[in-house]
């Protein structure tokens, strides 16, 4: 039995209920977020306030040796730094070093992961040994390679090739860039290997069996099933690897101490500040240029190229 007045009052009641629910949901959201506030405040204080200081310093002319400033100069540090050839060299080296190290370690890591994917005698030991380079301190790894492996006087490599008739090659002095990339690849391949291994072991076995029943070749299985499935894992490895490898400092400091072929941006900024330049205003300006560039590149890379975020949205 329907009456004419019921739809009106039920509308109002429904509207009131909707308003009450919205109000509750709004307050509920805040109640859920409140416990997170201390962590958020802490993060802001610890990361953003120093960043604001950094921006302020970059607008100053401030040197420690000889003592000068701080005097406000506006954007002069930026205009000077932007076209400084040594800074641009460092940017080139940074990009080159990161790209080379990430891609090569991904390649080596994937190869090692494929080898470790099957069961064999001593697999556990092999895996542990393969992970070890990643656990070594960067400074130690750099010195190890520089003095015990690459050195022209004491190094293992030259001890092997010299009796064969070749001249001793001082690797680190002659090829500083590739010497550092070699050490980085040695240290980061285990990292990539672990990520790819997780991906390989997550492969659905029924699809693989079906492919084998259909008499697909090993190579076919790899290129058509495994690789596409590994893509998100590889992307993850690339993103994480790039984030860390952009910041490489220790290896450069102990192996080459900077120098024309191997100064990347972090090392360059260090040199401009406390590493001898003592020009805090300029160093701050360089670091901000780097932050802006990184944000642009990272946004493009993560939003446009990566499939990581896409999978999240469909989930």
């Amino acid at each position: 039995m329907t009456t004419n007045t019921e739809p009106q009052s039920s509308d109002r009641a429904a509207a009131e209920r909707a308003a009450a629910i919205a109000e509750f949901q709004r307050k509920d959201k805040w109640r859920r977020r409140l416990p997170l506030l201390p962590a958020l405040l802490f993060t802001i204080v610890v990361t953003q306030i120093p960043f604001l200081f950094n921006i302020w310093f970059s607008l100053q002319d401030w040197k420690i040796v000889p003592p000068r400033g701080p005097d406000f100069t506006g954007l002069e540090n930026f205009t000077e730094g932007y076209s400084n050839t040594f800074f641009l060299d460092a940017v080139g080296i940074s990009i080159g070093m990161t790209t080379a190290a990430v891609l090569l370690s991904l390649l080596v890591g994937t190869g090692l992961a494929l080898l470790l994917d099957r069961q064999f005698f001593g697999r556990g030991i092999a895996r542990t040994l393969l992970i070890t380079p990643f656990l070594i301190m960067p400074v130690v790894a750099g010195l190890l390679w520089k003095n015990q492996i690459f050195s022209a006087t004491f190094g293992v490599v030259n001890a092997v090739i010299e009796p064969l008739g070749f001249d001793a090659i001082p690797f680190v002095e002659r090829y500083p860039f590739w010497a550092i990339v070699t050490v980085l690849v040695w240290q980061w391949s285990p990292f990539m290997m672990l990520i790819i291994l997780a991906g390989l072991q997550g492969q659905p076995t029924d699809i693989l069996e079906a492919a084998r029943v259909d008499r697909a070749s090993g190579r076919g299985i790899f290129t058509q099933i495994t690789l596409p499935m590994l893509r998100p894992y590889m992307e993850l490895g690339i993103v994480l690897g790039a984030i860390y490898l952009l910041q490489v400092f220790d290896h450069i400091d102990v192996m080459t101490g900077g120098g024309p072929g191997s100064t990347n941006v972090p090392y360059f900024v260090y040199q401009r500040s406390i590493g001898g330049g003592w020009d805090f205003g300029q160093a701050a300006a360089y670091s901000i240029i780097v932050v802006i560039a990184t944000i642009i590149i990272a946004t493009i890379a993560l939003r446009v190229l990566s499939s990581l975020f896409q999978r999240q949205e469909t989930a």
């Binding site: 050839t85 006087t153 900077g258 120098g259 003592w278």
Partner: protein
């Protein structure tokens, strides 16, 4: 949430831990006597005094000395940062003739004359005048010298005799280069020269070569500013090319990585026949436990267009303005750089009397035990220091405070290090000398016109 019971227990536990920890802290604080923090560079003479400190100093005075032994570049960084920013980390820092007058001028160091003039045992007038002046600024002594040096050529007399070559006592660079190339062999390189980047590493000896070839880094500007960069001049290129070519033809392996310590090893292992470097190296090469003791002879720093070319340097101890305990710091400095240490150290050091820190005090050179152990080099050591051309190192006026192998302006640290990085790259064969010099010119020109 947690019950009140658990909360109380947790609270009591926390308080108890805090109490125990604080008493432990207090206990350790009371148990210690005075202690000071000293930053020094890791050269052999410094390591020696660090190992003798407990026995000769701490036992007598009860002051514990916490040494922070660092490599040269790192030491400079840390000291400049700490002293320049008014830090309280160190009571005593070791600095060189480059920093002492500059830091004194900036007001960062304590004037040691206040302490030294009242201390008779310290014998301030015993210190060699050139060294004392090099560490002073406008009458104030800002660092007490630990050891001082010039530079000269050290060569294996036996190797040269076998080749029938004689080295003049005051050679020219052309003569030295020719001898080096003649005696160079696969087992023993003709000469060992520094190649490691750093204004105090490669920059030192190369700086003296630059001077004597008639070149310089900058002209002196007006009103205490840095003038025009002279890196693009032909004389500068000639000097750098000379150094790079000599290393290429007759130098040691891994040249671009070699500095003082590496060449010391090369000489001790008989892998190099000659070495142009600091005079203090003779102290270690002629030590009692050195395999080449007695086999060396010495020649003054080679010249080309100037009368003399040796450098002047001292490693010295200074007290930063904000040092927590200046009195104790001076007690330490007066022992470490005083005549008493020099009089007793020789008997206790493994290397014997030859390795005692040289070049600072006349009394050491009057000590018969030292005269005997250092007979082969003591005279030429002093001669090199006295002849060091501190007033006019080359052919032009330079900006800044006096300096031979460096330019006495603060900007030289940065320019010198970055330029020597480029030149070291040329020594390694990565870049051509011309490219390295072009980059160096760009670097040096950046600071033209700046005040020093």
């Amino acid at each position: 949430m947690w019950s009140t019971n658990r909360l109380t227990k947790a609270g009591v536990g926390a308080m108890a831990t805090a109490l125990v920890a604080s008493t432990a802290f207090a206990a350790t604080a009371v148990a210690q006597d005075r202690s000071i923090n000293v930053a020094i560079v890791g050269n052999p003479q410094m390591e020696d005094i660090a190992s003798l400190t407990p026995q000769l100093f701490t036992e007598e005075t009860g002051i514990e000395v916490n040494y922070v032994i660092l490599e040269e570049q790192t030491l400079r960084e840390i000291v400049t940062r700490d002293v320049g920013a008014g830090g309280e980390q160190f009571d005593v820092v070791m600095i060189g003739m480059f920093e002492a007058p500059q830091f004194g001028r900036n007001g960062w160091l304590v004037d040691l004359n206040e302490f030294a003039e009242g201390d008779e045992e310290y014998m301030l007038d015993d210190i060699i005048p050139a060294v004392r002046n090099g560490l002073s600024y406008e009458g104030g002594l800002y660092a007490a010298p630990f050891y001082a040096e010039s530079s000269f050529v050290m060569y294996r007399k036996d190797v040269l005799d076998e080749a029938g070559i004689e080295m003049p006592r005051e050679p020219t660079w052309d003569e030295v280069a020719e001898i080096a190339r003649t005696i160079d062999s696969d087992d023993m390189s003709g000469i060992c020269l520094r190649g490691k980047p750093g204004w105090g590493d490669l920059g030192g000896p190369l700086g003296t070569v630059i001077n004597t070839f008639g070149a310089t880094w900058w002209l002196a500007g007006e009103n205490d500013t840095i003038g025009e960069a002279q890196v693009d001049q032909p004389e500068f290129a000639e000097a750098v090319n000379f150094w790079v070519d000599l290393l290429d033809d007759a130098g040691q392996e891994d040249a671009s990585n070699a500095s003082y310590n590496e060449c010391t090893q090369q000489m001790l292992n008989s892998n190099a026949a000659m070495w142009y470097d600091a005079t203090v190296a003779a102290a270690n090469l002629e030590a009692d436990d050195s395999p080449i003791k007695g086999k060396l002879d010495y020649a003054l720093a080679p010249t080309k267009l100037t009368d003399s070319a040796g450098w002047l340097w001292a490693w010295a101890l200074a007290i930063p303005q904000n040092a927590p305990d200046k009195e104790t710091a001076w007690e330490y400095i007066s022992w470490a750089t005083g005549p008493e240490y020099l009089a007793v150290a020789g008997d206790l050091l493994p290397g014997g009397w030859a390795t005692v820190p040289p070049g600072t005090r006349v009394s050491l050179y009057e000590n018969p035990k030292y005269q005997e152990a250092a007979a082969s080099f003591a005279d030429i050591y002093l001669e090199a220091m006295q002849k060091a051309p501190i007033d006019m190192p080359g052919l032009q006026e330079r900006p800044g405070l006096p300096g031979i192998q460096f330019v006495g302006v603060a900007q030289f640290q940065d320019v010198g290090t970055r330029c020597t990085e480029q030149i070291s790259g040329a020594i390694a064969g990565n870049v051509s000398v011309d490219d390295a010099l072009a980059a160096c010119d760009a670097i040096a020109s950046e600071v033209e016109g700046e005040e020093w």
